[in-house]
Amino acid sequence: MFRLYRDLYQQRQSILLMVRRDTLLRIKGTLLGPLWLLAQPLFLLLVYSFVFSGILKISFRPDGGSGDFALYLFAALMPFSAMQDALQRASGSLAENRDLLLKTQMPGIVFPAVATLGTLVQEVIGLLVLILAAWIMGYPPGATLLLLPLLVVLRLLMTFSLAPLVAILSVFIKDVGQLIPMLMMALFFTTPIIYPLEMIPETYRPIIESNPLTWLVQAYRSVILEHQWPVDHLVIVAVASLLLLTLTGALFARLQHRAKDFL
């Protein structure tokens, strides 16, 4: 299993190359070019603001002003959708790169890693848009924002603790690719993204709180909007991710050569 991580380190240059290629591919040949990376989150935020604050007139917190719903939603949505996107890409990553996998010395673990990192740029730009919008709407940035890079790293770690699992299982069971969107939707609604954690009835609390993703999105909100230091949240996320990463890594190392016979 340690070989897996050594492979990753040795192939860091290839990984970066593929990540850059994937990111550029999305905007290549479009009129707006790199502006698209900015336009998408901006547009999404405007729509949310209009719907939740303009039409539904709900606020996220009892004492919150109008417009905070969109901000709270957005802060949780950025890490979540990045993760969702990465896992979706990871599920097809081994099959898509069949040629490289079977006919070169490229180690398989590279591809879920590329899928994971491929969502980074979009997330970072989304977060910058959010910080800026929050400032305009009366949530000025605080010192807690310094924690945000660490949060992004943890988000990547958490994603990568699942991506190889999804990637390798998809090879053996084609159904996994179909299952991912369903599972992600279930996860979307069982994580406090479109509702605050406090709103959940006591009976369901343990379920929601046992989901490490809950603590991750809460941490994002804390540092961007609430000026809090969610250290305990981060510890939960880190420990859960590392545990999962160990399991996933062991499974991937065991199955990767068998997977080649199936591709």
């Binding site: 040795q10 192939q11 240059q13 290839s14 190359l17 593929m18 290629r21 591919l25 790169n97 040629d99 490289l100 996998l101 079977l102 006919k103 070169t104 010395q105 490229m106 053996f172 069971i173 084609k174 050569h257 068998r258 080649k260 016979d261 199936f262």
Partner: protein, 399 residues
Amino acid sequence: MIAIQARQLSKHYRQYAKPLDLFKEWLLKRPFHTEVNALAPLDLTIEKGTTFGVVGDNGAGKSTLLKLLAGTLAPSTGSLQIEGRKSAILELGSGFHPEFSGLENINLACSMLGLSAAEIRERIPEIIEFSELGNAIQRPVKSYSSGMFVRLAFSVITSIDPEVLIVDEALSVGDALFQKKSMDRMMRFREENKTLVFCSHNLYQVKELCDQAVWLENGVVRGMGDSASIVDDYQDSVRHRQSKHKENIRSTSEMDAVSDVYIEEVELEGGVDTPEKIPVFRHGDKLGIRVRACKGSRSVEDVHIGLVLIRNDGLQVYGVSTLIDEVKMFSIDQQHVGIRLMFDPLMLMSGDYALEAWLIDGSGLHVYDSRPFCCQFRVRLDSSEVGLVKLSHDWEPVD
């Protein structure tokens, strides 16, 4: 110094009818697969600086062996050690990202093989130049022809200066000029004392380029050693199989069974016997064919012998008869005649051969007796010349 050392290296696949069987097997601990043996356990030692050839039919396990050596397949059993940086071209147009441009693929392949960004930048102009791709280098490789693919692959793989180079069939495409160029480059590798493992359907290339070779058949090693003799053995076996498909050999049962005119004996003279009971002649040796026949009540003038040299794929090399050459058989006693046909020197090239003997009458129309396939023998020649027979020739100066 040993460059490649493999011990009991093998590969078998488990084939599952459906993916679910894999999990059934896992859960129930009962086999739900069929085993496919791609390569039986094999020991291999390749010294540094050796050019090593792999020959065999399609599906014999050549590609499996090369993939194992390249490290893209994990062996089912055994161990493998390779000294130094290795690079490989496996199968046609493989190992590229179809959506990436040629240039991006160069970058990717080089960084995969462990080159730093600076080293890559330094080598890119040379790679592009060698590949002769020109502006096409900016196009995605999915739009490339197979020739372009191979040019790119070969340029990349050889320009990173590997210690061990593994090339699978790649040189069978591409135009003649590029083939020559890549051949030259491989020759240079040899001169630089690098290790080359090479598989090609072009047996001449294998014989010419390789020092040693292995012959695989159905995943099993049929022979390993000096490349010239391995290639010869393999070619003999191919021709032999081809001849089995031909049913044009006339059986003796059609002949008059109770005839008193028949071939008694056809025997080869000269040559060295081998354990397989097939005598081996060196090119240039004397080859004698001694024939004895019973002529019964016929006169000596009315009994002639025709002999045809055939290669084991059925090709007639040369046939002649005492009738054509207007030679009489020699009387041995009242009943028997005999004669010897001499080939001195024997101009045949390497291969497996046999004789056809026909006992005919003075008109050449009636066949008394025949031996359709007898006296198998083998010819060996330590030379890179190709073909069936050596033709006398001269090289002359030109203006």
